[in-house]
Amino acid sequence: MERTRGMGIRARIARRWENFGLPLLFFVLLVIFSTLSPPFRSAYSLISNFRFSSFIGIGAIGMAFCIMNGDFDISVGSMLSLVAAMGSSFLPKIGGVSAVLFTILFSTFLGFVNGVFVTKLRIPAFITTLGMMFIYRSLAYIYTNNTPVYIENPFWLFLGNGSVLGVPFAIILMLICYVVAFLLLRRSPFGRYVIAVGTNRETAMLSGINVDRTKITVFALVGLFVGIASVVISANLGSANPGMLGQGYEFQVITAVVLGGTALGGGDGNLWGAFFAAMILTYLKNGLGLMQVDSYWQFVAVGLVLIFAVALNRLKFTLLGQRQA
């Protein structure tokens, strides 16, 4: 926590919020929903929510890197669907371990492709990934002939549903991913390059950072984490549905990153924030569901959360005198 001496009271509050706000929000959310809905507060519900949050949480890692780097990747939902469908379709032929490996490698490759298009063809990231979003989605449809792929392989299913010593494996996986991401971001030169490029591309370039290589690596990372998340979610659901899987995923993941406190304009970001934000979003959705709220209201709710989160971010940056997106 940095020193707040000399800053006005508003700025101090903003600083405190930056560090404690989200966990606090999460706690408040838990309390509210537990009071309003008995099923919510059962241990089973709390744990399974935690497990579901790994879906958004893991994807949010890659997206956090991407946004910190100054880009967006809105193709992640379709990427998820494509790699899950393809990977799981190979299960009968090459077995669980290979299929999972293929899925993750393939999605990393797709991320790499995104990165190449963005850097070498010099097309703005969001438009490129907008195009790729539709390309990947239609490839998923075409490959599976619009039929879901059902998953029965024990290894694959374990990754999403299994438990180790009572702790869901998905959670362990998410924590491992976050630790790795943290090390990558805060303890390696690469992480510093990512933030530098996101803060000011020209300056980074002049400092000798290979911007293109950094960007491509970041997009490949996005792909990597999407691949892991795709295995988890398809294991959870027991199938990979080319049309439905990952719909709106990009949106949820971006919301998690932004709610977590990462600025949209690039530059330094908040990984653990994304973690808590992912949990908040998952619990919010499930909480609303348990309260018999129309599932369509959930769409509205998440959308509002995003706008609220961005507006809140801006407020925070203004108060702290930091750069705006």
């Binding site: 097309i123 438009i127 490129t128 449809y141 919301t255 959308g303 507006a311 801006r314």
Partner: protein
Amino acid sequence: MIKFLKLYEKIGIFIFFVLGSIFLSIASPNFLRGDTILNIVAQGTYGAVVGFGMTLAITSGGFDLSVDAVMALTSVFISILIPLIGIPFAILISLIVASFVGMVNGLIITKLRVSPLITTLAMMTIIRGVALIVAGGKQIVIQQKLFMEVGTGKTLGVPNPIYIMIVLFAVFYFLLYHTAFGRHVSAVGSNESAAKISGLKVDLIKIFVFVIVSFTAGVAGTIRTSQTLIGIPTMSPGFVLVAITVTILGGTSLAGGRGNLWGTLFAGVFISMIYYGLNLIGVQIFYQMLSVGIVLLFALFIDGVRSRYLETMRAKGIKV
């Protein structure tokens, strides 16, 4: 070379259009029939209509990802309102609702200072949710067959949507190139700070632009709904891709400031020609999405290469 590239912006899509027409007329004897051509153009009208709005938005430096959700919302509203207040008023109210969404978009972008990407991305989800809520999750059948006239009727042998497109084109053309507002929009798109310093009410202009974009989405939604006579809350996901592709393919630069309306018009028809061609080959509908995505990337690539080449020339001091 420079001359060619500058010219490309104006007529590039036209070249594609001509090439495509030649190709299709060789590939299919049916193509040159009046019926077929009118049909293809009619299919292109939704893309073109929303494209006009998107062209305006991109010229002003922003864009709107929520258009397909607005189409769905309009569809739902119309199907609910027609039994209650009759066709003309239903259309009117639905268009007002669509424009209202645009206004909300504009307000969030200007007052809360949220980027257009995030705002319209969030609104897209929110509006879809609203559409589903209003429709109760179902598709609503419209009983009044008369409504079909809007989308499928023909006046003087020409499908009605084409007239709608032409009228809107005329309005947009006038607005963009012959009014102060149009010039202001280009100014905001080229250099927002300069525009603001020059005294232009940038916020108001942006809000107005977003209202117009959503309005065009409402029109497109109306046409679509009238063709199927069903209010569909999940209508056309992914249509935003077509709208943006049509705009960029038409020569409007992503950088903003220069909108190419003729280009959008031809691009709209061109995309419809691609669909027709794909149909001839007999591929599934998913290939349509795939090809539009590829076309978008291709159009962006050309746009990017062109801009950078011209930038480099300009930097070298060569008159561009």
